[in-house]
């Protein structure tokens, strides 16, 4: 076996000798990576929703509650006469409540029929040029009898700001977990080094370089990183479809599945795992090498 093969084997052995700390390191690093992956999935999908909502050229125009059905239907002509509007579909109160029922369940609006229906008459207005969206909405608001315009852009903006908030929060949590991971891996390696101080002392007495002494411990850190990356990808693969399916029943959009982004995520996780593992090891090794094994005769 070459020296390199021997050092790799030693790195694997270290993992088993220090099982409890290895598991702790794996646990924290996996949490960190799963959270990162979840944040990525959330950001990608919220961005999909935002794009889909923002690109929708259909806008809902609600009319004043005191308008009769005839007056309401007549408003359609005024709306169609406005510039940039290609169509205005009238939505009856009963049709509107029925749409809500279909989306949220029959029981929710069961008693809201006839005069008890709180919804106003409305129009689904289709615009020609979305770049003139704000200008057209202002024109619609100028029509008498129009109570409000439900801007999809506002929903998109709210979703975008929610997504940005979640991303920022996730980044802070991920940063905190990454620091904890570094700390725990660093301690795991330090404990391994302490347990091997006798061997390190012999290594140094026969002329092993610090680089040679380091390799098994770096290997240990890198293995922790790679195993965490693989486990995190597995967990996200198993969880994400279930979560998307449940959300899809409420908000029906085209969602990005984890399988569509699995390779870039797996690559990034492996890189992050290796980096955190190697960095965690390196920190403790450089500190410990100054102490462990330096006393040869004074052992």
């Amino acid at each position: 076996m070459s020296s390199f093969g021997y050092l790799i084997k030693e790195g694997f052995k270290n993992l088993f000798h220090n099982r409890l700390m290895t598991l702790a390191s794996l646990g924290v690093l996996i949490s960190c990576l799963v959270l990162t992956g979840s944040a990525v999935m959330l950001t990608v999908n919220v961005s999909n929703i935002v794009d889909s909502v923002g690109d929708n050229n259909s806008t809902k125009v609600f009319l004043d509650d005191n308008l009769t059905e005839l007056e309401a239907v007549y408003k359609g002509k005024e709306l169609k006469a406005l510039d940039n509007i290609v169509d205005a579909q009238f939505v009856d109160k009963d049709d509107a409540i029925q749409a809500y029922r279909e989306q949220l369940g029959e029981a929710v609006f069961a008693n809201m029929t006839g005069d008890d229906n709180p919804l106003p008459y409305s129009f689904n207005v289709t615009m020609d040029d979305l770049s003139r969206y704000d200008e057209t909405v202002n024109a619609i608001k100028g029509v008498s009898g129009v109570a409000s315009v439900s801007s999809h852009r506002e929903v998109a903006q709210k979703l975008a700001s929610l997504s940005s908030f979640i991303t920022t929060m996730s980044l802070w949590i991920i940063l905190a977990l990454a620091i904890i991971s570094l700390f725990i891996i660093s301690n795991t390696i330090r404990m391994t080094m302490f347990a091997h101080r006798f061997e390190i002392s012999i290594m140094k007495s026969v002329g092993a370089t610090n680089a040679f002494v380091r390799v098994p411990f770096i290997v240990e850190g890198v293995i922790i990183g790679l195993v965490s990356a693989a486990a995190s990808v597995g967990i996200l693969y198993l969880l994400s479809d279930g979560v998307i399916n449940s959300v899809q029943s409420i908000l029906n959009f085209r969602y990005t599945r984890f399988t569509e982004i699995i390779w870039p995520v797996a690559g990034a996780f492996c890189a992050a795992g290796v980096l955190v593992g190697a960095l965690g090891s390196a920190v403790s090794i450089s500190r410990s090498l100054k102490h462990e094994g330096n006393e040869i005769l004074g052992w």
Partner: protein, 233 residues
């Protein structure tokens, strides 16, 4: 006729920062390549500090040290492993790794300096035969006597073919008969050209071999059987 110098101490003093102890005081020693030298002295005389300075485990407070042509007081830390590859160390307490076999303990020293497996496979059995442990390769240290364990330690010190063997109280943990055998073995190794430095406090054993003896007491060289400056003392 003056030979090639292996170890040269010139006015070397060592004061430990941690406790202010003056371990060595203006020590000057010259050991030639191929010599066999006993360093004797009572406990706390400065023998261990002398060895630590040779191995560059400690640095001198003042004076100059040259080992195998390398100036140790100027040596950067990264070069220390290469200095140590020129020497083999035998410890009083053997320092064998209990979970490794005799073969693995000796091979470990070769792996640490990056030797390839085919080289290790040829060299280790040869060295084990040399120290008389050819049939114990698969045993673990716990299965061996004290004398045998010390021979494994010696095999590990020898396996990288060092120019200098440093033995720190090699007979401290073994019976007198085995002690004689170990020194005899070191003497045989010395005959092959390796410089041997043995630190001990067993005066009787030292006398029986008739080698050069340097006595250190209270951090100073108080006698040197090869140096006429000390003959009168």
């Amino acid at each position: 006729m003056k030979g090639i110098t292996m170890i040269e101490f010139k006015n070397v003093s060592k004061v430990y920062d941690s406790n202010g102890v003056h371990a060595l005081d203006k020590v000057s020693i010259n050991i030639q390549k191929g010599e066999f030298v006993f360093i004797v002295g009572s406990s706390g005389a400065g023998k261990s500090t002398f060895l630590k300075l040779i191995m560059r485990e400690e640095q001198p407070t003042s004076g100059t040290i040259v080992v195998n042509g390398m100036h140790l007081e100027k040596m950067p830390r990264r070069k220390v492993p290469y200095l140590r590859r020129t020497m083999g160390i035998v410890f009083q307490d053997f320092r064998l790794i209990s979970k490794m076999t005799v073969y693995e303990n000796v091979a470990f020293a070769m792996r640490c300096v990056g030797k390839k497996n085919d080289v290790i496979k040829k060299r280790v059995p040869y060295i084990l035969e040399l120290v008389g442990l050819g049939d114990k390769a698969k045993d673990h240290p716990s299965e061996l006597s004290g004398g045998e364990q010390q021979r494994v330690s010696l095999a590990r010190a020898l396996v990288n073919n060092p120019a200098l063997i440093i033995a720190d109280e090699p007979t401290g943990n073994i019976d007198p008969e085995m002690s004689y055998e170990i020194i005899q073995l070191l003497s045989e190794i010395n005959k092959r050209g390796t410089t041997v430095l043995v630190v001990t406090h067993e005066h009787e054993l030292v006398k029986s071999f008739g080698k050069r003896v340097i006595t250190i007491d209270d951090g100073r060289v108080v006698s040197d059987s090869d140096d006429e400056r000390y003959v009168a003392i």
